[in-house]
Amino acid sequence: MGNPITAYGDTTGDGMVQVSFTLPLAAGARADGAAQLFANRMGIEPAMVVHSKAMGPGHSFFVVYGRARVWVDPDEVEVAEREYPLLSAKEVDARVREGLGRPLVVLGACIGTDAHTVGIDAILSVKGFAGEKGLESHREMRVVNLGAQVAIDDLVRAAHDEHADAVLVSQVVTQRDAHLTNTTALAKAFDAAFVDGRRPLLVVGGPRFEPAQAALLGVDRVFGRGTTPGDVASYLVHALLPVAPAVPAQPTPAAARR
């Protein structure tokens, strides 16, 4: 057990936080009181309601400052560990050449009705992201980018036709948890279509995913905001060519994540 910490305003341990929210109540003394109570329920005590404003006849918006009486122990934080070593583009290609003897086939798409391709293009296209070139730039990879709004069935068919080793799927729209629903449907469809462990590696990504969700969603790996092509290439090699020498896992360094 380490030392539990709380929020820091201007003195260690003061617990000061800023919160804003809307309540479905007409502006007035009662709404202000409810806002204070609401903040109390979030563990903020005392809670100063420093701003309140009517949002139309039946809602009110609040800004609250106060001491959050909650603590976390940094040691109990489960840091998403990177389970694979980061390789250079050259190393990735070398490993594919040795381990597979043919180019790795990567299929990419935005599925469902999502049309946000900038994220998947950042991972796949030569232009890349954060100064790293995308997977298309690898000699030992064949990348097929199906673009946006691809139906899951079409994706399954393409995976089959192209003999895909890995399928990379992007989901950016999260309203009504669309990204979760779609990912679950994706996994189901691939499980049904590919039996006996012949299912290609399923990798999903997008700014509102948490890496820890993979198992829950039934896919092999999940990538969140700030992913770079190198992260993905290294992971693919790690997951598909497991003959590699053991390298100890390390927590993802902050700088590499954003």
């Binding site: 804003s20 929210f21 809307t22 404003k53 949002m55 139309g56 809602h59 918006f61 469902g112 009705t113 999502d114 049309a115 391709t117 900038v118 673009g147 946006a148 709004q149 729209v173 999260t174 309203q175 009504r176 669309a178």
Partner: protein, 522 residues
Amino acid sequence: MTGLLDLDPAVVARARALARSAAQPVVELAQAHTTVSLERAVLRLAGCEGADAGHPAGDVPWVNRLVDVVADQVGLGHGVALPLGDAIARGEAPDLPTLAALALEGRLKLRLPDEAAAEAEARHVMEELVGAGIARIDAQRHERDRRRTELGDPPAPWIYLIVATGDIREDVVQAQAAAREGADVVAVIRSTGQSLLDHVPEGETYDGYAGTYATQANFRLMRRALDDVGAELGRYVRLTNYASGLCMPEIAVLAGLERLDMMLNDCMYGIVFRDINPIRTFVDQRFSRQIHARAGIVINTGEDNYLTTADAVDAAHTVLVSQLLNERFAHEAGLEDWQLGLGHAFEISPSVPDSFRLELAHALLVREVFPDAPLKYMPPTKHMTGNVFGGYLHDGFFNLAALLTGQSIILVGMMTEGIVTPFLSDRDLALENVRYVRATAGRLGEDLRPAPDGFIATRARAVLDESVQLLERIERDGLLRAIGEGTFGVTRRPADGGRGLDGVVAKDERYWNPASDHLEGI
């Protein structure tokens, strides 16, 4: 406002002339083809409402059924008006929906009328029906004028707010709230995916993702809601929706019938951002714009989108080039300058030195090249992050740029742009931001005098020059090739690729379409 940049009118004129000749082959292509959606739009104009509710996968609009039947039995090269008009003239059914139902049951045999008399009868029937539809659109246009005169128009710039709950009933509540908070224009974002449907959904809908389906019933509901709140507020509140997509012509018709005031309608957006086939799009956009022209609707073009996939500095000239093309296609379709809500955006990364002045240069350039167009200015999106405080400030500087450069319609940026579709409070805070900037610094434009050969003027001229160069290339190589090479939004779209190509049909000599005749004054 015009004249701050000291642009050379000859260069601007040359850019326009190039756009005109670059567009010409595409206009001819559009004139030579029809599409399933265009034909369905004709039927919607002819009063064909409703859907076949019997299908297990969901309702299929009668217009889709009819066009499919025509295609099946006699082909689409001559349009649907002649065979269907003929069937009605022959007394097969009193109206189009009934005809469709009959056909579905296999009890209808369509033909192309052979003799002149039969053809004249068929034409007469369809002219009457379509004429009634156009009369309804005209009536709605007059109704708009009447209400605007009665209630008065707000001063420029107009505040444009979006609602996007997915449920038309929630949308109505939020739209009325937005109007009360100061929105002059309310846009109902469509559900993701609708633009790739090759039909227009039917009825009121409650289950869109990140937006609400554009349906005639939803249009009507929202129109009524805004009329009500407009009466309450004493100003006419405008309603906007989206045409671009596989059903551009049909949605344009519905917008005219239900008195929408503005429509997102871009000559290339569907191609670049929805991978819709270029020919399909060019045919569809032309007809849809003819409808908008008639309906007195202001179109909004989508150049802002380019700057989400391309870099806003590098690709600044592609915005101007696209605007000139949009202008040309719009004029050709009969739209007037006051109807051209040309789009552009404040999307330069704030890490670029002098980015605000670059934005001013771009915004002034557009303003001065299109002095009579109601320009629509889009807020930052790409460089909005999870830092909502920084985002709120960035939006404030967007508002300042909009006011300093005399933009006409400003879409209000939300501090949560990088995170979620807007909260109720985001919209209120965003409007407070606009009001703050407008009240405190709204008239600062009077004091802005870019140095004659200073940073701003030089940048604007450089963008104009690059635009002329790009237009020269497009005029030489063809617009379709340019699109295929990824000129717009760094996205390559070959002329023979994309969705909806199978719905494009070359017109044969007997092609006839009473709506186009009407709209083109033939």
